[in-house]
C-alpha cells in the first residue's frame, strides 16, 4: 500500500511541476522582440489561467499523500539518515515540510489572484505568487527524489 501511495505521490508531483513551471514561465515579462515561434516562446505562450485549478488540486493532493507517507518516513527513513549521519539530508527534508506548509497556505491567495477576469494591475502579484509556489514545488520535488534514492546516491 505504501509503495502505491509513494508512486502516486511522485506521479502527481511530476504533473504539478509541469503545470506550475508552464505557468511560471508564462508570467515572465515578455520582451517586445521575443519570438513566439521559438521553443521557449511557445512554451511561454500558453493560456496561463487554465493551470490554476489543476495546480491547486494537485498541490493539495500531493500534500495529503505526503502527509499519509510521513509516518513511514519518520519510522524507517529518518532513523536511517541519523544512523548514517546524513545531517544535510535531514535538513532538506525538514525544509521540505516547512515549504510544503507555506505553499499550502499560499494556495487560497494564489487562486484568488488567478481568478478571471485577470486585472492588469495584479499581474506582478500573480507573478510573484506563482514563482514562490514554483520554487516550493521544485524544491520539494527534488528533495523527495534525492531522499527516495539516497541509498543509491550515497552508498
Amino acid at each position: 500500500m505504501i509503495q502505491v501511495l509513494l508512486i502516486l505521490h511522485g506521479l502527481i508531483a511530476a504533473a504539478l511541476i509541469g503545470a506550475i513551471t508552464h505557468q511560471a514561465f508564462s508570467v515572465l515579462r515578455r520582451q517586445p522582440s521575443a519570438s513566439r515561434t521559438s521553443f521557449v516562446g511557445r512554451y511561454r505562450a500558453v493560456n496561463s489561467p487554465i493551470f490554476t485549478n489543476a495546480v491547486v488540486l494537485m498541490f493539495a493532493a500531493t500534500f495529503v499523500l505526503g502527509g499519509l507517507l510521513y509516518p513511514r518516513y519518520r519510522i524507517d527513513v529518518r532513523p536511517m539518515l541519523e544512523d548514517l549521519q546524513l545531517r544535510a539530508a535531514n535538513g532538506i527534508f525538514e525544509s521540505k515540510e516547512h515549504f510544503a506548509a507555506v505553499g499550502l497556505g499560499l494556495l487560497p491567495v494564489y487562486w484568488l489572484y488567478w481568478r478571471p477576469p485577470l486585472a492588469l494591475e495584479h499581474a506582478p502579484t500573480r507573478r510573484y505568487l506563482t514563482w514562490m509556489l514554483a520554487f516550493i514545488v521544485w524544491w520539494n520535488f527534488l528533495t523527495g527524489e534525492v531522499l527516495n534514492n539516497i541509498k543509491g546516491l550515497f552508498p
Partner: protein, 109 residues
C-alpha cells in the same frame, strides 16, 4: 476579487502561524498534540521514545496554523482585507520562506 478578499488574510497569516508554532515547539519542547506512528495514535502528552517511538509534531503545527488563520480570517473586517496589497500578500510568505532557509542552515554545518 472583493468577495473573496479575506483569503488574503488567511494566506498572509498561515505561514507565519505555522513557523511560530514550529519555533515555539523547538524552544519549549511542547506541542498541541503529537502523533506516534509506532503506536498509531495521537496524544497530548510526550511519551518516552523507548515506549512510543519517535513522535510527529508536524500535524499539530499545520492544524494550529489552520485554526489561527481561520480565526483571524473570520475576525478581520472585509474592508481591511481588501486593503492588503502586494507587499503583504507576497512579502510575508517570501519573508517566511527566507526565514526557513536561514533557520535550517543549521543542518548543513
Amino acid at each position: 476579487m472583493n468577495q473573496y478578499a479575506r483569503l488574503k488574510v488567511f494566506s498572509s497569516v498561515y505561514g507565519v502561524a505555522y513557523m511560530g508554532l514550529f519555533l515555539y515547539s523547538e524552544l519549549y519542547k511542547v506541542a498541541l498534540f503529537r502523533y506516534y506512528p509506532v503506536l498509531g495514535r495521537f496524544d497530548r502528552e510526550a511519551i518516552p521514545l523507548e515506549t512510543a517511538g519517535p513522535p510527529i509534531l508536524w500535524y499539530s503545527w499545520l492544524f494550529g496554523a489552520a485554526v489561527i488563520s481561520l480565526a483571524l480570517t473570520a475576525i478581520v473586517p472585509r474592508s481591511w482585507a481588501e486593503r492588503l496589497g502586494r507587499t503583504w500578500v507576497c512579502g510575508i510568505p517570501a519573508a517566511v520562506l527566507l526565514g526557513i532557509i536561514v533557520y535550517e542552515r543549521r543542518w548543513f554545518y
